[in-house]
Symmetry: C2
């Protein structure tokens, strides 16, 4: 665009940005990339259930803690986690706010994400089943989130005309700057809206990931794999992918303590998935790149278990206004992805994906460290 009779480049850019807001908004955001140390760390925060802050009481803490316990304990835990782990990305996997107890959903969202915003660390969020229980619809919540500082969240992929839900998008994590993987995404992150509740009268219970979303995921995975296996530095397999969404898949029901690390102590059926299977596990296994899935929703489950080559992981409940278990600490999951050290020096593709959890106790105790995936064991799930 040329402003006739002038050469005000800044004005041109501003005008262009007003027209092409989404593109400029994206362009402003610094892309994710592995650091010089060859690792990328993600902090997962599940189920903050934030409401009004100081006036919102805690749930399921010991009676003597009640008087001084509120949403601010959730904030403090998040601040401590960020300080302790210094992640490269913070991912919020839904039920970020408990909107039915919130006086003003927008303010609750602002407060819930405040520690992430002020940390200047990029962050991403998806929706749970409680985020929209106020004046803000699911679309409204997601539209509010994407305007907050430092977030990489998107309402939906710009290229999609029809997709179910709000908060389906992907993020690419580039190789180390100056390395031969500089211009490749070596780690792919998928974020999906697993819905809230069934809208189908004959299907009770929670929502699920729909065909439109799975088709988008499938095409995105294919596109990324195609780029990864193209020259230069053409790779043989796909770059590892991690998927983040709120409601666990029904396939988690087939895991038990003989094949998972962590705790499964949710009341009743154990896994609060949708009551039907919408096939997303099959779609991910078929795509071939996703190595681990990270859910929230079941605050009292915090395990990771391998099924058909994909690690299915919970983070465990984080928020103090969320149901929990007095004496069983609120917790968060950390994932660190390490690159391969090349013979000639420098960093290559992803070598391993590790995880642990931290408890909200005096020392932020680390528990359940485990390797989720490694290049050397790939193909032997």
């Amino acid at each position: 665009m040329k402003v006739v009779g002038g050469s005000n480049f800044f004005l041109e850019v501003v005008l262009l940005c007003l027209i092409l807001f989404p593109i400029c908004s994206l362009a402003e955001k610094k892309p994710l990339r592995f650091g010089k140390g060859g690792s990328f760390k993600i902090l997962q925060v599940a189920d903050m259930h934030y409401a009004d802050g100081k006036t919102t009481p805690c749930r399921d803490v010991f009676p003597e803690q009640m008087a001084t316990c509120s949403d601010l304990n959730t904030t403090a835990f998040l601040e401590r986690m960020i300080h302790a782990e210094k992640p490269d990305l913070i991912v919020f996997t839904g039920d970020n706010i408990y909107a039915s107890d919130s006086t003003d959903a927008a303010k609750s969202l602002d407060a819930a994400f405040a520690p992430a915003i002020s940390s200047n660390i990029p962050w991403a969020a998806v929706l749970g089943n409680h985020d929209q229980e106020s004046a803000l619809s699911r679309e409204g919540v997601m539209k509010h989130i994407v305007k907050l500082n430092n977030t990489l969240s998107l309402v939906n992929p710009v290229e999609e005309h029809v997709i179910d839900g709000f908060g389906n998008y992907n993020l690419e994590v580039g190789g180390v700057e100056g390395s031969s993987f500089e211009n490749k995404s070596v780690l792919n992150l998928y974020f999906l809206d697993s819905g809230d509740y069934s809208r189908v009268p004959s299907i009770p219970g929670y929502g699920w990931i729909k065909p439109s979303q799975q088709f988008w995921f499938e095409r995105t995975s294919k596109r990324l794999q195609s780029a990864y296996t193209a020259k230069p530095e053409a790779q043989k397999g796909p770059a590892p992918g991690l998927a983040y969404f709120h409601i666990p898949l029904p396939e988690l029901k087939s895991l038990d303590k003989t094949n998972f690390t962590g705790v499964k102590q949710e009341n009743g059926i154990g896994i609060s998935s949708a009551s039907v299977n919408s096939g997303f596990f099959t779609t991910m296994v078929s795509a071939g790149d996703v190595k681990a899935v990270f859910n929230g929703h079941d605050h009292l489950n915090d395990f990771c278990g391998n099924l058909t080559g994909i690690q299915l992981c919970y983070a465990g409940g984080f928020g103090y206004h969320a149901y929990g278990l007095a004496g069983w600490a609120r917790r968060a999951r950390v994932v660190v992805v390490n690159l391969e050290k090349m013979e000639k020096g420098g960093w290559g593709a992803v070598n391993s994906i590790k995880t642990w959890k931290r408890l909200d106790d005096q020392h932020l105790t680390t528990i359940d460290s485990q390797v989720l995936w490694s290049k050397s064991s790939a193909g032997t799930p």
Copy 2:
């Protein structure tokens, strides 16, 4: 298109047809419609397993039958069924040919469908897992099928740029000519390619219906519902749908003889579905219009059972070169859809969907007659 300096309309049409072949090909085909009697009958033929005709022996018949039994018995059964039932549509649900025993797949296809072709009754086919086991690929088989006379089969929907498989399409059945439903599709038929075998190393067994196909189905169902509920004669609910594909869904495993009509006697696991759930049952329940699903694949299962408002039906094995059970007659399924008689006279929307099977015995004995769906009981699955 205007031919300059001439007025040869025929030439124009021919030229246009050469350019727009698929459209002209469609236009040639007479659309399906309920007859003056207010009913529409579909004959389902599952698993003909046709090969070379007279020289291809039968399987699993009594020893004394072997000498005179061949693919021609399959042909004779099909001819008798067509003559006895006079269906409005014949649907072949895959494993139409047993291509690995076929000398020439194209000839086998021609011979297998010959009774349908010569009956002048419209027919439609989908692929099974055995149709492509020769020089003709799945695409090749489907491309051969769509060129045969009287078929309404399509390789894939013309509007889809990316869809998995070959033989995904839908057919609309219009209301009675001259009635107020003349210009509405009152019955919708969906045909899908359920694949052959898994292409995913970590998933063993049979194929499944992919997200791209489900997304197409979902959008097609939505479009049809939108037309059905639009003026004139705006309807409240969707027009009933019937889905035809080869490999049964894993959900059939949850049915047992307390809630189905027919026989479940397939060896081993009972239901030879894919080893994973790809979500198509959930997608159909969500769409809300499909009242019954018709599969083949398991020759020794022939039951129908209701799950969450959808009847899941087998046809039972039809072909003599297919495995079966000596003494357990080859069989076919008939579905008849009846319209509602209007108070003012004439025909309205669909009132009931009934089914029965016919055995290949002396009298083509009818068994297991049942109502699959009726307007009066809708909403009470």
